[in-house]
């Protein structure tokens, strides 16, 4: 490469940086700024009526995992907090898994239709986004509550005498989240399956693979990037879900999101809310790192 070309390339790179400055500033101020405030708040003392007092304290961090007995001052594991974390992770994982189980056949079906029908089905998938999440969640509430559509119908045809209690259980939250996040799984899966060379199916069958083996050995490894993308898109918002557990889980079946909200509201413990937020962020980051490592290990093996 000649010196002139090098200079030109360096110039292009410089201009590139210059052009991306607005985005960088926005990221710095809009994303990192609030995050830093949250981290700082988690090391302060809660004020009496909410807000914070500018005095260093690590109580918010120990408070996540430990509680001090009011009477004898001994420390115990904060069971309530841990069970909320565990429920959040469990429900998010279950939602991810179930949206995959339902979303994969759906995406496969759409990707194997003729092009015009494909556009139509994709359009159907996006219809739920037209309505507010809150309204959709209330709609589910109407269906599954004790006097709701489902129970009334089942009792009407005499299948059950007592309403099946779904509302305000973990299952209701799981159901609601699966419904809400399903499109986020279907769309990346569709993109991956759409790129999949269907002729490989015949190659697989021809080489003595059963239908299940073709799925396991040929299809899934090749559409894996889509599975990973869909799982990330579902797992992360599901973990921090707020509206769905609030409306379908009632007060008892809280998830991290609701618990954090509680600290900033009735709990009047902003530092604890802040530290919980950071923990949520860390869980998400651990999950992301895990996904990235899994996907790059696959990529490197060849």
């Amino acid at each position: 490469m000649s010196a002139a070309e090098k200079a030109a390339e360096a110039d292009t790179a410089r201009k590139g940086w210059l052009l991306s400055t607005p985005a960088l500033i926005l990221l710095l101020v809009g994303a990192s700024g609030p995050l830093m405030i949250v981290v700082v708040y988690s090391f302060l003392t809660p004020g009496q009526y909410g807000n914070v007092v500018w005095k260093f304290s690590s109580d918010a961090w120990t408070g996540i995992f430990l509680t001090q007995d009011i009477f004898d001052g001994t420390w115990h594991l904060a069971d309530a907090h841990l069970s909320i974390f565990w429920r959040s992770v469990k429900l998010a994982l279950m939602t991810t898994l179930f949206t995959f189980l339902v979303g994969f056949p759906t995406a496969w079906f759409i990707a194997t239709r003729p092009p015009r029908m494909r556009a139509f089905y994709l359009f159907l998938i996006t219809i739920p986004f037209w309505t507010n999440l809150l309204i959709r969640t209330f709609a589910i509430n109407q269906i599954i509550r004790n006097e709701g559509l489902l129970n009334t119908a089942l009792m009407g045809i005499g299948l059950i005498d007592q309403p099946i209690v779904i509302i305000y259980t973990d299952f209701a939250v799981f159901l609601g989240m699966t419904y809400v996040y399903l499109p986020l799984m279907v769309l990346p899966l569709f993109a991956a399956i759409d790129r999949f060379d269907m002729r490989l199916l015949e190659a697989g069958y021809d080489l003595y693979a059963t239908r299940f083996q073709v799925l396991r050995q040929v299809i899934l490894p090749i559409v894996k990037p889509g599975i990973i993308a869909g799982s990330i898109l579902v797992f992360i918002p599901a973990l921090g879900a707020y509206v769905t557990p609030r409306i379908l889980g009632g007060g008892r079946n809280m998830m991290i999101g609701n618990f954090i909200e509680l600290q900033f509201g009735q709990g009047r413990n902003w530092p604890l809310g802040a530290s919980l937020s950071v923990v949520l962020l860390l869980i998400v980051m651990v999950a992301l790192v895990f996904y990235v490592r899994v996907s790059t290990r696959e990529g490197r093996s060849g």
């Binding site: 060379d197 002729r199 490989l200 015949e202 190659a203 069958y205 021809d206 080489l207 003595y208 050995q217």
Partner: protein
């Protein structure tokens, strides 16, 4: 089937019909095809695109089931057996190599699916890599290979499970001319070495002639003629076969005592008793010799054009009744040997050159 030969049929198609769609828009991809492919044979299905050759191959592979009729393998009915339960493997036109697997994993895939022990799979994979001379590429991803190398992997992958029959669906069409010639030789070598029955689909008549033990020529979903390359070339059954394979002159003639009378009045020798009335004769250009005008028994003609092809020169000739004929003569070593446009010449046919065609 009256003939009892030592060779047994590897593949048999009995009155196979395949129709796609229904009603008025139905496409008859295969129209009542019966065919026997013998064990250890290099059999080629030859025809233009859309002639049904690939459909027939897919029926044998099991990717399609016939609308009616039967497919037999080694005398066993396999018409409705799924592809993974047929000891038949395919080399796909697009190769269809697994992009997420290495070359070695691709080759071992079939054996792995058959549940062979790991050691056997590894040994067989190594042997196949050696057979197609790709030992150095074992751990590469298939996307890192050239077209010719991918072709070899596809071959090795299909041969690794030692199928009874190997199906090849236009496997050389994506390669450039030089590579294609190499792979033709390579394929022939592999077939001889392994002794596996090859069913090869192509639209390239030269490929078919040079590689095959026998050729089946197809058109419009029908099997028009089956025979060894020499038969197909020298005794085409009809006009389609004659024109699809090599170049041919077609001349209308009338059968008379002692031969066929051309429009220009010349009498041409044909197989006695093979036809009567108005017929069409097929004469290969290389079976026509140019002689001095007025020579005894020669058909008079006028040279209208000369096209130089290197080793050959194509002489375009007009007979006295205006019929056009092309003769292929060896190009003289020096100069044009007195041939010039407009020259009056005589034509002589090699014995047996004129073939009577059925329509």
């Amino acid at each position: 089937m009256g003939h009892s030969v030592a060779r047994t049929a590897a593949i048999e198609a009995r009155r196979a019909v395949k129709t796609f769609g229904q009603g008025a828009s139905a496409v008859h991809a295969l129209d009542d095809v019966s065919l026997t492919i013998e064990n250890g044979e290099f059999f080629t299905l030859l025809g233009p695109s859309g002639c049904g050759k690939t459909t027939l191959l897919r029926l044998i592979a099991g990717f399609e089931t016939p609308t009616s009729g039967h497919i037999l393998l080694d005398g066993q009915e396999i018409t409705h057996l799924p592809p993974n339960r047929r000891p038949v493997n395919t080399v796909f036109q697009s190769y269809a190599l697994f992009p997420h697997l290495t070359v070695a994993e691709n080759i071992g895939f079939g054996l792995k699916m058959l549940g062979r022990p790991r050691g056997d799979v590894a040994a067989r994979t190594a042997a196949m890599l050696a057979l197609v001379k790709l030992e150095a590429m074992a751990d590469r991803k298939t996307s890192q290979l050239s077209g010719g190398q991918q072709q070899r992997v596809a071959l090795a992958r299909a041969l690794a499970p030692e199928p009874k029959v190997l199906l090849l669906d236009e496997p050389l069409s994506a390669l450039d001319l030089k590579l294609r010639k190499e792979m033709q030789t390579e394929l022939k070598r592999l077939q001889t070495e392994t002794g596996i029955t090859f069913v090869f689909v192509t639209h390239d008549q030269e490929e078919a002639l040079t590689m095959s033990d026998r050729i089946g020529v197809m058109s419009g979903g029908k099997l028009l003629q089956v025979g060894n390359p020499r038969d197909i070339y020298t005794r085409p059954a009809n006009r389609f076969v004659a024109s699809f394979i090599g170049e041919t002159n077609f001349l209308p003639a009338t059968v008379e005592r002692g031969g066929a009378r051309l429009g220009c009045g010349a009498l041409v020798e044909i197989d006695p008793g093979s036809a009567s009335g108005a017929i069409t004769l097929a004469i290969r250009p290389e079976q026509i010799r140019l002689v001095e005008a007025g020579e005894d028994g020669a058909i008079p003609a006028r040279l209208t054009d000369l096209v130089y092809f290197g080793t050959d020169t194509h002489c375009h000739l007009a007979l006295s009744d205006g019929e056009e004929v092309v003769a292929r003569v060896q190009s003289p070593a020096n100069g044009e040997a007195g041939l010039a446009r407009g020259a009056e010449v005589g034509l002589r046919l090699s014995p047996g050159a004129a073939q009577v065609l059925g329509e």
